[in-house]
């Protein structure tokens, strides 16, 4: 093709690709003198667009004719027979190589895909895999590709042999190897399936097993992996040279120490004469680094250099500390908060912009953000600011999750008939961080409307203000012996003020007014309750309520804490001037301990006690009566006696958030309804049966003193791995309600054990628990409830 001036360009063979695209990549245009190597260059350019399988340049008079054959496009791509690698991971991988529906088909890509798949399967120990691509031509220059994979069985590890280990047996060393021979747990741990990176991880464990027990110049001579001819069995051999046991002779801290030497000395876990342990040496450098990072040295480097003295078998360890520059945080950037406002996140940060870098402050900020309960995950990482060597930007990536619940419920239960309930609660109302909830419930025995609002940041430093109003009318009378059947309707309004006292402690006080109207029904309501109201002389109880509570919270997350704990103490009183002046003390202490391998132990104790004060007197006397079976005269309430603790404020025990395995609010003292022939209240028999009373069983009336203890072990279950707000735990609950402090007796405690699932589902918190009471009081038997399920209630 000798050079000529191109007057026009014509392209033949185009169907899918537009002429414009070819012109765009073609470096020749009208009026150019076309030389040979320009033509070559054009052909090469068109080829690496990968659109064409063949490109030819021809000359027709002074017109340049570009003949192209378009590569077929892929109409259909199917992958069959793969179960180790998920199909969509494969499809994504193929898309990067350019093999996806709609793309141009290129035979070289098929070959690369085949090799890549075989390599991936070899990595997973499936050495018998076969990958066969079938390409079928379709009309309109299209192809359909079907990749057939036959994975075959994975090669099982038949033997892991460590040679030369005289100090420890093979079994001791291979205890926490990931690779091993088949054992009863292999179906789940897959430890007998060979993979290269699992093996390299294990060899590192072998090395550190020795190095942590004094073998300073331990050497892994060589390791061989052999496979049986039928590629179904693999044998792993590791040859080790143990060397001798070394002890620490001396330790030095060199370099720029920033802090006085004795402060850093406290972080050195290694003392003279100790057995050499690499883990202890590394732990020392990590903790020195962590300490320096707390005071501004974000890029501190601490490397340990052990010097071995071969004949005395001692090691002289030196740590070189290079603190690097003092680092300042220039900007804190939040990412992922599409719903929560920036201020809500920034006010939780303890690391400010424009101040020196403190790892402790950053860790504390991460915990405070997690304690909000608005985010699934919070990750904070730092990037150096380009152009300056001592400034860093912090990026806080949050993944939001719904922090509230919107529930509509239509339920039916034979006691309360149709229950219509709806509740809206949002802990992060419109992203402003305020907590707002409105709930209404309508059923035969209960109509309740409750509204609450809390703004945690009235002032800049976190003084919070909240309002709460409830209106409820409960009539337990037709609830059978389930509850103490009396009806009370309460209206109350209160406002709270929360004041942070330290980073972990908060004191909040609240004031409110409320009125409760109690009416009891002769014969249905347990007699002491009826007498109490008559003695009191009032049916509507007005009260000024005031409460003071102190909370110390060091938990590291709201939904699934694994560290720290919470101490709360609350005193709420009906202030003087209320009809019944009482005070209630509520105390709770709990703590979480991660005990390694993913298990978390949780222990929680609750105490509640209430009493009246300011010796109010009963207004009138109720009649005395002598019990049917003789004995001294039962005295009802006498005018002039001091008022007892009001029964409608009594504490109950049992229920899904209390002692599991028992129905809600059914544990504690129980009293029969109605009076016998000569006016004495019917005494409940030991098994809770009430002779000739309207209800056959005694009704739980609760008590003024309640105690509850729970221990739970959260289990590391693989399938719950990525739902970080779901946890399964084994629990033991112990608790009981007593009429008053004096009637507490240790034998009276109820206890149950079982398993329970806590899940913050997108629509609201959900608890399912299976409880088996193993210590019950007489009369509890009819209140057992094996499976309990609650949904939407804040726990």
């Amino acid at each position: 093709l000798e050079p000529f001036v191109v007057s026009d360009i014509r392209i033949e063979g185009l169907s899918r690709i537009s002429a414009g695209t070819v012109f765009n990549y073609l470096s020749i245009n009208k009026g150019d003198r076309l030389t040979n190597e320009e033509a070559q260059q054009a052909i090469r350019a068109l080829y690496n667009t990968k659109f064409f399988s063949d490109v030819e340049l021809e000359r027709d008079g002074s017109i340049l004719v570009v003949k192209v054959v378009e590569r077929p496009s892929i109409a259909k791509l199917t992958i069959r027979g793969n179960n180790d690698i998920k199909t969509d991971d494969l499809k994504k991988g193929l898309k990067d190589i350019g093999l996806t529906e709609g793309e141009t088909f290129d035979r070289l890509a098929i070959d690369r895909v085949q090799q890549e798949l075989i390599r991936q399967y070899y990595n997973r120990g499936k050495y018998n895999v076969s990958v066969i691509p079938h390409v079928t031509e379709l009309d309109r220059n299209r192809v359909s590709i079907d990749i057939e994979i036959r994975e075959g069985k994975v090669a099982k590890v038949k033997e892991v042999n460590i040679v030369g280990n005289t100090a420890f047996t093979d079994k001791e060393i291979e205890k926490d190897f990931e690779t091993g021979t088949t054992n009863w747990l292999s179906w789940y741990s897959k430890n007998d399936q060979y993979s290269q990176d699992k093996l390299s991880g294990d060899l590192k464990k072998l090395q550190s097993y020795y190095m942590d027990r004094g073998y300073a110049d331990f050497g892994l001579d060589s390791s061989q992996v052999t496979i049986a001819p039928d590629k179904r069995a693999m044998y792993i051999t590791a040859d080790v040279v143990q060397g001798d046991i070394y002890h620490i002779s001396d330790t030095h801290l060199l370099g720029q120490l920033i802090l006085p030497e004795d402060t850093l000395r406290k972080l050195v876990f290694v003392k003279n004469g100790d057995l050499f342990s690499r883990r202890a040496i590394e732990a020392t450098s990590d903790s020195i680094k962590a300490l320096l990072a707390n005071i501004g040295y974000a890029f501190a480097k601490v490397n340990s250099v052990p010097k071995l003295d071969k004949d005395k078998h001692t090691v002289d360890v030196t740590w070189y500390i290079q603190p690097g520059p003092r680092v300042y945080v220039r900007r804190v950037i939040f990412q992922g908060n599409t719903r929560t406002e920036d201020d809500v996140l920034r006010r939780e940060m303890r690391q400010l912009e424009g101040s020196w870098y403190s790892q402790a402050a950053i860790d504390r900020s991460k915990i405070r953000l997690q304690q909000l309960g608005f985010f699934k995950t919070v990750t904070i990482d730092k990037q150096v600011v380009p152009g300056s060597d001592d400034e860093v930007d912090l990026t806080v990536k949050v993944e939001e999750q719904s922090a509230g619940s919107l529930t509509f419920g239509v339920g039916y239960s034979q006691y309360s008939g149709i229950i219509l309930s709806s509740s809206v609660s949002q802990n992060n109302f419109l992203g402003t961080g305020d907590r707002f909830s409105v709930s209404a419930e309508r059923s035969d025995y209960l109509t309740q409307i409750n509204a609450g609002y809390y703004n945690p940041f009235l002032t800049e430093n976190g003084v919070g203000i909240g309002y709460n109003a409830t209106f409820s009318r409960a009539d337990y009378s037709n609830l059978g012996s389930q509850y103490a059947s009396y009806s009370n309707s309460t209206k109350s309004f209160s406002t709270t003020l929360g004041i942070p006292v330290t980073d972990f402690d908060r004191i909040s006080g609240s004031l409110g007014i409320g009125s409760t109207k109690i009416n009891t029904y002769e014969g249905y309501t347990p007699q002491p309750l009826v007498d109490y109201i008559n003695a009191l002389g009032h049916q509507t109880i007005h009260s000024w309520t005031g409460s003071l509570s102190w909370v110390h919270d060091t938990r590291n997350s709201y939904w699934a804490p694994t560290h720290g704990g919470q101490l709360t103490a609350t005193v709420s009183t009906a202030l003087p001037g209320s009809t019944v002046q009482y005070w209630i003390f509520n105390g709770e202490a709990n703590h979480y301990w991660p005990i390694g391998k993913g298990f978390v132990l949780y222990v929680d104790g609750k105490v509640a006690y209430g009493d009246t004060y300011g010796n109010q007197k009963y207004a009138n006397t109720t009649s005395d009566y002598t019990p049917a079976g003789g004995g001294n005269a039962q005295v009802g309430y006498k005018a002039g006696q001091t008022v007892a603790f009001p029964f409608w404020m009594n504490f109950y025990a049992g229920g899904v958030t209390d002692v599991r395995g028992f129905q809600d609010n059914t544990l504690g003292p129980r009293v029969c309804a109605g009076v016998d022939t000569n006016g004495a209240p019917i005494k409940a028999q030991s098994n809770g049966y009430c002779p000739n009373s309207t209800y056959s069983y005694a009704q739980p009336v609760g008590g003024a003193f309640k105690v509850l203890g729970t221990t739970e072990l959260y289990l590391p279950l693989p399938f719950l791995k990525d739902i970080n707000t779901a946890r399964v735990s084994l629990f033991v609950d112990v608790g009981q309600a007593y009429t008053n402090l004096q009637s507490f007796k240790f034998g009276g405690l109820d206890a149950s054990a079982g398993i329970s699932l806590h899940w913050q589902a997108p629509i609201g918190p959900l608890i399912i628990s299976l409880g088996f009471p193993f210590r019950t009081q007489p009369g509890d038997s009819q209140y057992l409830e094996r499976i309990q399920f609650t949904f939407g209630s804040q726990f």
């Binding site: 169907s15 899918r16 537009s18 414009g20 695209t21 012109f23 765009n24 378009e70 496009s73 109409a75 529906e101 709609g102 309109r140 220059n141 299209r142 220039r330 900007r331 939040f334 990412q335 992922g336 908060n337 599409t338 719903r339 929560t340 406002e341 920036d342 201020d343 920034r346 006010r347 400010l352 912009e353 424009g354 101040s355 109302f429 419109l430 992203g431 402003t432 305020d434 707002f436 609002y453 703004n455 940041f457 009235l458 002032t459 800049e460 203000i465 309002y467």
Partner: protein, 258 residues
């Protein structure tokens, strides 16, 4: 007609022109998910037909309207890579910017927020930045396209939102008495968004934080620049200018924090 012979989904059998007509019809009647399915079948069945490019563009629009911003974004990107010289490619760049234009805050937040920008200026600015870059690429590649004028308006709006975000953060640090942080943020606005109206607020905050830091002459310098450019700025009249709402107002629920 067809359902007598029950030969499966009509999308698989319709010839090209009718299939495109059906898809286009669905799009016009705002039935975006049906339109999206129709366009996807059209592209898969007729990859090299005449309607292919138009279908890809309208698929992206349908996905955008069907509230699937991520799918729309990847479809538009594929369209731009496949046909860089198509005569509608400037619309593709414009659509790419539009997709991320109002993704910053959820629908409810925007409806309740005091004014439209209030919601956008207080949340993650990632999408605003991306939209700003996409629009600027459009105005750079096709300065005289029909969409560039509107794109420039949107860029100005986005820049003001970004500047307002920085000023909000600076205001937060002033309220929390972290004056060096407030000065840095204000300086960031002055350096990056000079022409935005928020630069005035930034200058005011910078001046106030210098005063708090005891830098009299730096504060005087900044104040003189403020007087020069924004003579009627509220800060000039009252030194405590960025007031946070009074304690009483904040005690009323839902009254907002700023």
């Amino acid at each position: 007609c067809s359902w007598f012979r029950h030969n499966g989904d009509p999308l698989d059998t319709l010839p090209l022109p009718q299939l495109y007509a059906k898809a286009h019809n669905d799009l016009m009647h705002a039935d975006y998910s049906a339109a999206e399915k129709a366009y996807q079948r059209l592209i898969a069945r007729f990859p090299s037909g005449p309607f292919n490019q138009q279908a890809q563009l309208e698929l992206a629009y349908a996905q955008y309207k069907n509230n699937k911003p991520d799918d729309a974004y990847s479809t538009v990107n594929r369209f731009i890579k496949a046909n860089p010289l198509n005569d509608h490619v400037d619309y593709a760049y414009y659509l790419r910017g539009l997709i991320n234009f109002d993704r910053t805050s959820g629908v409810i937040e925007r409806a309740f927020a005091s004014e439209r920008t209030g919601a956008q200026t207080r949340r993650d600015q990632g999408f605003n930045l991306k939209a700003f870059d996409d629009f600027s690429e459009l105005t750079r590649r096709f300065p005289d396209s029909a969409y560039s004028a509107d794109a420039r308006q949107r860029m100005i709006y986005l820049r003001n939102v970004l500047a307002q975000f920085e000023v909000n953060v600076a205001d937060f640090y002033i309220r929390n008495k972290a004056y060096v942080a407030a000065a840095d943020r204000a300086q960031y606005v002055i350096e990056h968004y000079q022409e935005s109206p928020q630069a005035g607020d930034a200058l005011a905050i910078l001046c106030r934080s210098y005063l708090a830091l005891g830098q009299k002459d730096l504060a005087a310098q900044t104040r003189s620049v403020l007087v020069l450019n924004y003579p009627d700025h509220p800060y000039l009249k009252d030194p405590k200018w960025p007031h946070s709402p009074s304690m009483l107002r904040k005690m009323i629920p839902f009254s907002g924090h700023y």
